[in-house]
Amino acid sequence: MKAVEVEHLFKSYSGKVAVHDLSFAVSSGEVLGLIGPNGAGKTTTIRMMMDIIQPDAGRVEIFGEVPSQATKGRLGYMPEERGLYKKLSVIETISYLASLKGMDPRTIESEADALLERTGMLANKKKRIEELSKGMSQIIQLIVTIVHDPELVILDEPFAGLDPVNTERVKQLLLDLRERGKAVILSTHQMNQVEAVCDRILMVNDGRSVLYGALDEIRAQHRGHAVLVESDAEIPQVAGVVERRTHKDHVELVLDAASTPQRTLEALVQAGVPIDRFEVATPSLHEIFLLKVGGDAHVD
């Protein structure tokens, strides 16, 4: 049984299509990257999974059931809009929200302490939320999301505003969730993080699915006809190269349709070029994103 199954989902607001015929699934022990430009329909899709709003058409199943109060206890959700009880302490906030999730009150504090320690926040346990920095509040929000050990975790921009240390902590937490067999949906604009932690991606634009599948396969599909060459010597023009792009430490040679990377390598060797690195160019997710969504994109 999949953790999440979405089929032919539709949602409109006042005639404007927010989600159009979206279908995807997420398995336990997997991280799905949900990416897309602003206004693409990611948050609307998440809210339909969370039973906060109802779809106009289509089917959503969480662990084989229609989203309801019963399924909410098995989910952890960290929305993009950050918000906690400013006047409550860290432990009071975690305890209250964890109890609403159905967690046994006797275990809340110990579980919370473990996560606080893991994220370096234990010393702030008794501080009020308003006394914490933005980044610290965000870590607490993440703890609130996972303290009850949910089977499905949905995170919307969990890395936004975090320093490198906390970014790494959050990344390790995500990987740990996956290792423990949780299903994770990660919605973010930070493509480098998607590449680092996600197994599959779903790219949406204007409410529609643009790309869907394993990250490696998608990158392979979009692999351009180009090679990356690093050399101390000047790289001469060789046959079959239609364009040269000079980067900081290497040159990118775009090949014509008839050429192959093998032939280009042979040509360079014959030309006596000492080669330090030769690699078939694979586009980054950032580049694929820009290619697919074009001018609508806002990417970090």
């Binding site: 109060q69 989910l75 809009e81 918000g83 609403l100 999730k101």
Partner: protein
């Protein structure tokens, strides 16, 4: 009640009763009354003079005016002339004096002289001079034993009977208005404060962007119910503390101050009705507050709209003098049934007059129906607007949204 609703209820209740403002307001009323009793007692001992005799001189230009009866506190002394009276006054032999002019019978005016600067003659002095003059004017016309009856105002003792002819338990009277008026005032305060707590609670969660986390965990109905009951329980606790402490304090005041206070009685059933009207009134104002908080983006914006409804709770006090004299006027009957003014207005009317059972039943029925209707509207608005921020929707848009469901 679901566990989640119970958890929200508990959280809201504890969060409210721990607020400084709640504690201060709850304790302030009884403490102020207690302080009032203490200060009155202290002031009485300082202000009230020990029993001394006031010596009042008089100069009689008509002739024949004599003190016909004595009082313990005032001594009337005939003086031969105004000069002699002034000399005696300045020498401290008199406390004051008055002159009966030759034309007193025609004008009714006497001239009074004193060394004290005062707003008005002391009541005891005025009564003594008036009694002296009246008794002398009547002496030649009325037998002595009747003079006292003519001078003493008639005391009318009223007894209220039941329709069956028995003596009614609740005898009414001005002093019996004090308790309901006090209850009414406290009810108005409690309703406004409790509704504001509910509004603040939801408004803050919306403003702090907590809504999405909460709605991913609980349903709008559970959230609304938990808040209503939790904050309501805190408000009820406040009202009960007042309801228990104030009668005790009034008993203490009776023993200490006496007078008017000692004749105050707690009308039977008033406490029960007070609690019932608090619960119904609170639920009504609270669901309206929730609906307002749902459509507003900030607490401040919501608090700006709330008085449109909560002022109705206070409005009866603006007309209390008219209410006292015409408590059964049709306009008051109507507004005792109109939901927003009903709780407080009915409490005031209960202290002034007997309210027919049908009016009590009608006002409660309308309140219950209003609460249920308000709850339906508030739940719908919560579902639609809880995650919306920015410009507040217009009434047209709200109505359209409610119709669309």
């Amino acid at each position: 009640m679901s566990t989640r609703t119970g958890l929200i209820l508990r959280h809201e209740f504890l969060h409210t009763i721990k607020k400084k403002g709640f504690i201060i307001l709850t304790l302030a009323i009884p403490v102020v009354i207690l302080l009032g009793i203490g200060i009155f007692k202290l002031a009485s001992n300082v202000v009230m003079p020990s029993a001394t005799v006031t010596r009042i001189g008089y100069v009689d230009h008509i002739g024949g005016f004599d003190p016909l009866y004595e009082t313990a506190a005032i001594e009337l002394i005939r003086m031969e002339s105004e000069e002699a009276a002034t000399e005696a006054l300045t020498a401290g032999e008199l406390d004051e004096y008055f002159v009966i002019p030759a034309d007193y019978v025609a004008t009714g005016t006497v001239a009074r002289y004193t060394l004290d600067k005062e707003l008005a003659p002391p009541l005891a002095v005025s009564a003594a001079i008036e009694g002296f003059l009246d008794s002398n004017l009547l002496a030649s016309e009325v037998p002595p034993e009747l003079i006292g009856r003519v001078l003493t105002p008639t005391s009318i003792l009223t007894t209220t009977l039941t329709p069956e002819g028995a003596v009614a338990e609740d005898q009414g009277g001005f002093t019996n208005f004090i308790i309901p008026a006090l209850f009414g005032a406290l009810l108005a305060i409690a309703l406004n404060v409790s509704a504001n707590y509910v509004l603040q609670s939801l408004g803050e969660e919306k403003e702090n962007r907590l809504m999405e986390i909460l709605l991913s965990t609980v349903s709008p109905g559970q959230l609304l119910t938990g808040k209503l009951l939790g904050r309501g329980a805190a408000g009820l606790l406040q009202v009960l503390i007042w309801a228990v402490s104030i009668p005790l304090l009034l008993r203490l005041a009776s023993a200490t101050i006496g007078g008017l206070v000692s004749s105050i009685q707690l009308p039977p059933g008033l406490l029960v009705l007070g609690v019932v009207y608090f619960i119904l009134g609170y639920l009504l104002f609270a669901v309206v507050s929730l609906a307002i908080a749902a459509i507003c983006s900030t607490v401040r914006e919501a608090q700006g709209l709330a008085p449109l409804f909560t002022l109705a709770a206070i409005a009866p006090f603006w007309f209390v003098s008219l209410l006292m004299f015409f408590p059964n006027s049709p306009i008051w009957v109507v507004f005792s049934i109109v939901p927003f003014s009903a709780p407080v207005l009915m409490m005031l009317r209960l202290g002034i007059t007997g309210v027919p059972a049908w009016q009590l039943a009608a006002s409660m029925a309308v309140l219950v129906a209003s609460v249920l209707g308000g709850l339906w509207i508030a739940t719908k608005l919560l579902r639609i607007y809880l995650l919306m921020y920015g410009k507040r929707p217009r009434i047209r848009e709200i109505v359209r949204a409610l119709r669309a469901g």
